[in-house]
């Protein structure tokens, strides 16, 4: 049983008003893993997560979460999963302490008072426990939501874009906490569209237009994409960008400050085009590692193509 993955779902499908929000998504997450769930806005991440924690009924597909059938054992899943919603969804008209007491009560934690006190102390919010949750800043709301989601010691934590609207320092602290929890044996599935966060995951799953288009470690995903990237550097990058758009082998042109990233699958054609433009505009040219972001932009484009 120890080998059984924390999440193993196959062929999940969910449509809203005739539009396929999630189309044949299969996902496996090993125990203790931090799995990144990536994709642009509206790609079906939230819908997939909701299906896995029993908040939505899939139109098709099956699977198990923590060994419980997602179709029939939603209640068991809810008890063992901690779910942090995308939007802050605790009660803004309750104080921090009252919110935690409510959660402790619903999970029948005992002694509830102790759990709440410990969680407050862990958050460093003991002195502010009588403050209304609605008065907290975005970063604190996020910390409160995470603390509430793990108070009942779940085996699996599902985080839906947990760091949206949170400053970089708070984001770093948040990820340190996630890694600490995972080291303690907790499995984490976290959705995001920040590339730096994706790189903090053990494995990533990329979803676009409801379809899973890439899976693996960051290195694997980058390697499998088979992209080549050149950097052009110089004074005339704007002119170079205009010339490169639509040139043979060039699939992406993206300015990064004073440099220009040129990405494509056909390495030979790309080199030829880039070399020519570099000569014309007087830019220096060198190769570089393809970034995860380049890969994702490529994946987004191709997924769109297949759907159209």
């Amino acid at each position: 049983m120890t080998a059984e993955p924390a999440i193993a779902v196959r062929g999940l499908v969910k449509s809203f008003h005739g539009r396929r929000a999630v189309d044949d998504v299969s996902l496996t997450v090993a125990k203790g893993e931090i799995a990144g769930f990536l994709g642009p806005n509206g790609s079906g991440k939230t819908t997939t997560i909701r299906m896995m924690c029993g908040l939505l009924t899939p139109d098709a597909g099956e699977g198990r979460v923590l060994g419980h059938d997602i179709l029939t054992e939603g209640r068991a899943i809810k008890r063992e999963v901690g779910y942090m919603t995308q939007r802050f969804s605790f009660y803004e008209d309750l104080t921090i302490e009252e919110n935690l007491a409510f959660v402790a009560g619903l999970y029948a934690l005992r002694p509830a008072r102790r759990h709440v006190a410990d969680t407050l102390a862990g958050l460093g919010l003991t002195s502010r426990r009588h403050q209304l949750a609605g008065a907290l800043s975005g970063g604190w709301k996020q910390r409160l939501a995470l603390a509430a989601a793990i108070m009942h010691e779940p085996k699996l934590l599902m985080l839906d874009e947990p760091t949206a609207g949170v400053d970089p320092k708070a984001r770093r602290d948040f990820w340190d906490e996630i890694h600490r929890l995972a080291a303690g044996g907790l499995t984490v599935l976290v959705s995001t569209h920040y590339m730096d966060e994706a790189e903090r995951c053990h494995r990533i799953n990329y979803i676009s237009y409801g379809r899973l288009v890439a899976q693996g470690t960051v290195a694997e995903v980058v390697r499998n994409a088979g992209l080549t990237t050149f950097v052009l550097e110089g004074a005339a990058t704007a002119r170079a960008a205009a010339l490169l758009k639509g040139a043979p082998g060039v699939e992406q042109v993206a300015p990064f400050g004073t440099t220009l990233h040129v990405v494509g699958r056909d390495a030979a054609a790309l080199r030829a085009s880039a070399t020519k433009v570099a000569e014309v505009t007087g830019c220096r040219m060198r190769t570089t590692d393809t970034s995860l972001e380049d890969v994702f932009i490529q994946l987004m484009g191709s997924a769109e193509d297949t759907r159209a």
């Binding site: 909701r50 924690c53 029993g54 908040l55 939505l56 009924t57 939603g74 209640r75 809810k78 008890r79 999963v81 779910y83 919603t85 939007r87 802050f88 969804s89 605790f90 009660y91 803004e92 008209d93 309750l94 009252e98 007491a101 409510f102 959660v103 402790a104 009560g105 619903l106 999970y107 029948a108 005992r110 509830a112």
Partner: protein, 378 residues
């Protein structure tokens, strides 16, 4: 842990709901303020024994007997003859338009008949669309008119007595044949106020969670539908209890409504009624998507139940289909119950039927609400 109803979880739900209710000051003030406001407003505005109502007189021959009766009627305070010399057709128009509440017709041979001792007749037509308008005026009518004739005929005791006995007053309560009793309004108001506040408050129960985005979180935690429903609904039973006390005390102190029945019986009925209302509100909130919709659904339910329950118009005066429709509203049964207990002093056997109906509503609404409750966000 696995039971459908854990008291720890229910306690958590209840605590949370009570805190939220208390913190929403406007709503809380409304719950306590509205009953009093409505009671005072309606209690005084709805006068069950109105006086000085406009009347038209149709009397082709204005002899002394006619004048005697007219002045006697005016002296009762109920009638105010705004159209003292109307033709029958005019009078008909006046009462149709609602310009007068009464038409008093004294036939042209009235005086002759009085003097002959030959069964004099007068006809009073009352606009009974609002039945309470007519009742007081009509009840005083016979004796007042007879006394007036008596005085007018003078001292011959025998002839006078005969004339009085023979005076025939025909009363037509027009548009609505059944009048309601004097103290109907205030006990009925208890039902109306409870219905208004209880249903409206609980109809927001789930939509508020949905609109604030907290529903997703609530559903992701292991609370069962029964726990959520009871947690949402029970605090309002407490609010309802406060309203009941306020209204009953005010009914007694401000309006002097008689209370002849058993208090425990009444409280039992009120309890079941309030339970039916809060669960009905909760049922509405399982159907509504926004608080605005919940509000609209509440009013959609509120108005017909007000009109068809027998609060506004006598239940028996409605056509058959409307009476059937009226049975669908808890208020209908509650009105029967509270009027029977408060005004007629009914015992349990007397209210068993409405009581059973109310219990049935509780069970039916709760079942429907639990069936309708979406455990998922689908």
């Amino acid at each position: 842990m696995n039971r459908l109803l854990s008291f720890r979880r229910l306690a958590a739900m209840l605590t949370k709901e009570v805190i939220q209710m208390r913190r929403d000051r406007v709503t809380f003030a409304m719950m306590l303020g509205i009953p009093l406001l409505q009671l005072v407003l309606f209690g005084f505005a709805i006068n069950s024994d109105p006086k000085g109502l406009p009347a038209a007189l149709v009397a082709p021959t204005q002899d002394r007997y006619t004048r005697a009766i007219v002045s006697a009627l005016e002296l009762t305070g109920y009638y105010r003859f705004t159209h003292p010399a109307a033709s029958a057709a005019e009078a008909e128009q006046l009462i149709t338009r609602g310009d007068v509440s009464f038409v008093v017709t004294v036939p042209s041979d009235f005086g002759r008949r009085v003097e002959r001792g030959d069964r004099p007749e007068i006809l009073i037509e009352a606009d009974a669309t609002d039945p309470s308008v007519a009742s007081g005026a009509i009840s005083t009518l016979g004796t007042v008119a007879a006394d007036a004739l008596l005085r007018e005929r003078g001292t011959e005791p025998e002839a006078a007595a005969a004339a009085a006995a023979q005076l025939q007053v025909t009363v037509h309560k027009r548009y609505n044949p059944e009048g309601i009793t004097q103290y109907n309004i205030v006990p009925g108001l208890l039902g109306v106020i409870l219905q208004m506040t209880m249903v409206m408050m609980t109809s927001m129960a789930l939509t508020r969670e949905i609109e604030r985005g907290t529903m997703e979180n609530l559903l992701s935690m292991p609370a069962t539908p029964v726990e959520i429903m009871l947690g949402k609904v029970l605090p309002y039973l407490g609010v309802g209890a406060v309203q009941v006390v306020v209204v009953l005390v005010a009914a007694k102190l401000i309006f002097g409504v008689p209370f002849v029945g058993a208090l425990p019986l009444l409280l039992a009925g009120v309890f079941v009624f309030v339970a039916a209302l809060v669960i009905l509100g909760y049922l509405i909130s399982t159907a509504a998507r926004t608080q605005m919709q919940a509000m609209q659904l509440t009013f959609f339910f509120f108005l017909p139940s007000l009109l068809l329950s027998g609060f506004m118009f006598p239940y028996r005066g409605m056509p058959g289909w409307a009476q059937v429709l009226g049975e669908v509203f808890p208020l209908t049964h509650f009105l029967r119950l509270i009027r029977a207990v408060m005004l007629k002093g009914a015992d349990y056997a007397g209210i068993a039927q409405p009581m059973a109906a109310l219990v049935l509503f509780v069970v039916a609404f709760a079942t429907l609400a639990l069936l309708r409750f979406r455990r998922t966000l689908d």
